[in-house]
């Protein structure tokens, strides 16, 4: 589904990603872990099409299409979803109206009629239950005055509504207390299926306890330095990122 080949990216002349390779297939859940500043969020941003980054080398294909050629909105319409680390507030625009606009833009792109009000409400009700989100939140301006937990839950709700083929969760666990984390993780688990791939970007193991990824990759200094199964995450949790860095410096020394 997603094929990242040798991606190099920089921002304001500073190189952040130094050759990333990653293959993600339908139905898989990949976790990308790494210390602060390793380039995790940069990777999420360039996949979503943020224009602040310059891609100096490499290619990304998504569902067989050259993704780097596509506008952010077209990537989204093709089925890419990014759950933001810091969802922005848009005063005066209700969450419901926002999602309805997004959904109908996507439908238009695929040559479908816009969803009528009744079907939309029905769909909303169904998904609200799935991710345990309160109705009152959806009539308020999107993210305005939401708590950290509410914002993240709202992201997962949008994911449920937009039914992406590939979802990237960018530090969705940050700033959540344990109860909020469980609710968000439950929501994500319910959205797992054979057709959908998920990339979870996180600093900590605790979200992975709930999500049980198929693969774990460790990103250090702009490179994936180690890949493995979920046991790798546990090892990281136990030993910290330093052990990888030590391994690396050993390897380099040899």
């Amino acid at each position: 589904m997603l094929s990242i080949k040798n991606i190099h990216a920089s921002v304001e002349g500073k190189q952040i990603l130094k050759g990333i390779d990653l293959e993600v297939k339908a139905g898989e859940v990949h976790a990308i872990m790494g210390p602060n500043g390793s380039g995790k969020s940069t990777l999420a941003s360039i996949l979503a099409g943020r224009e602040d980054y310059e891609i100096t080398e490499g290619s990304v294909s998504f569902l067989g299409k050259d993704m780097l050629d596509m506008s952010p909105e077209d990537r989204a319409r093709e089925g890419l979803f990014l759950a933001f680390q810091y969802p922005v507030e848009i005063p005066g625009v209700s969450t419901t109206n926002f999602i309805k606009t997004a959904l109908n833009e996507k439908r238009k792109y695929h040559g479908q009629e816009p969803l009528d009000a009744v079907s939309f409400l029905k769909l909303m009700k169904e998904k609200m239950q799935l991710v345990e989100i309160d109705k009152s939140l959806l009539t308020r301006s999107i993210n305005e005055g939401f708590s950290g937990g509410e914002k993240k839950r709202n992201e997962i709700f949008q994911m449920a509504m937009l039914e992406p083929k590939l979802a990237i969760l960018d530090e969705t666990d940050s700033g959540l207390d344990i109860d909020a984390l469980r609710i968000v993780a439950n929501g994500v688990n319910k959205l797992r299926n054979k057709e959908r791939a998920i990339i979870v970007i996180t600093h900590y193991q605790r979200l992975l306890d709930y999500l049980q990824p198929d693969f774990v990759h460790v990103l250090v200094n702009g490179r994936i330095v180690k890949s493995g199964t979920k046991e790798l995450a546990l090892e990281l949790e136990e030993k910290g990122y330093d052990f990888i860095k030590d391994e690396l410096s050993l390897a380099e020394a040899v």
């Binding site: 979503a48 952010p72 909105e73 989204a76 005066g92 625009v93 926002f98 997004a102 996507k106």
Partner: protein
Amino acid sequence: MKEELDVLEQTVASDYKYGFVTEIDTDVVPKGLSEDVIRLISEKKNEPAWMLNWRLKAYAHWLKMEEPEWANVHYPPINFQEVIYYAAPKKKKQLGSLDEVDPELLKTFDKLGISLSEQKRLSGVAVDVVMDSVSVATSFKKQLSEIGVIFCSMSEAIQNHPDLVKKYMGSVVPMTDNYFAALNSAVFTDGSFCFIPKGVRCPMELSTYFRINTLGSGQFERTLIVAEDDAYVSYLEGCTAPMRDENQLHAAVVELVAHNNSEIKYSTVQNWYPGDENGKGGIYNFVTKRGICQGNNSKISWTQVETGSAITWKYPSVILKGDNSIGEFYSVALTNHRQQADTGTKMIHLGKNTRSRIVSKGISAGKSQNSYRGLVRAGKNALNARNYSQCDSLLLGDKCGAHTFPYIESKNKTAIIEHEATTSKIGEDQLFYCRQRGIDAETAVALIVTGFAKEVMNQLPMEFAVEAQKLLAISLEGSVG
């Protein structure tokens, strides 16, 4: 960052959709202003002597006045001798019904989306249309007159209801009030007149469409609305003009009088030609709008959505004279390209327990300048006067400006005046968030702007709100890629 800004700039570069010219036989008075021109206008309109004298008095006063310069707008001096003060679609004979109106004219109104047709009749909006200088059609007149509501052109009112006109014209905006009001008083050519008698709740929205068509002509209309005790009326006005390279002058006067327990709701969707991307052409819009809450418990509410004009100079105001009276001002002013707007309101509290509310939303894009200027004054007898003002500005891009000039004067200790202001910018983060959800930048800007203006839009009558919302989106088309 840079790309996002470029994208913003592109969306702000859009075309004016009402810029066509109607080929129509027009009766034009040669350009220039003098006593003779005023006499000629008055004569063409077959006016009584008192009206002509009133005009001449205003003209004499205007000659002694100086053009105001305090507003935050900049334009080359206007040559008042280059303006055509009277242009009227030629009438072949007195029009008995809409069916006799020039078909070209009706086509124009169709293009404007103004339905003088059955469709609008069904929706129950009575329409008066002013083209260039004269009113050409008023619908529903008969039905309204059965319940005592007078809704006609100002010219007709001068002929048929001289006592009412004499009593109220100039009572809220005196001919000496300001430079442009004096000019209007001298040369005004038409406008709308509404009179709602005691105890009558006007059963339909009254609406006037103003259009400037003739090259080089100015438009000087006067609107007068009087609500007697316990009366209610909701009035809408819309304005458009063709695209012209040179600037055209619009200097209107609107007066509202609300007696005891009455309410006047006045809504404007102003879309005069704003000029092109480089600031060439466009309407100079110098308008004096004022209402007086003459009676106790009366209410006047102004709602405006302003997207047009090269220059806007406009402060719809309320004099709160009656005890417990209420004044409201809801405004969305959108400027793009090189438009300049200096607009706001005045709330003059004179009576006891008077309340006013101001909600102003300014949206600036392109290289435009958008200023809010508002005065709240509580007089010494205005015990317990209460005002709440909220002025929000939204910026698109980094070449435009938003300014707020609030003036507060309180002469008694019981008055409570509150003012809140915010300035925000459509950020690249907001745009990217929308785009990541599949909403393109242009739709995203429309969504964000509509959200920003929602509080004001909610005040508009339903039918107008849809139109106004579209207008906001159109005015910003091209400001984002």
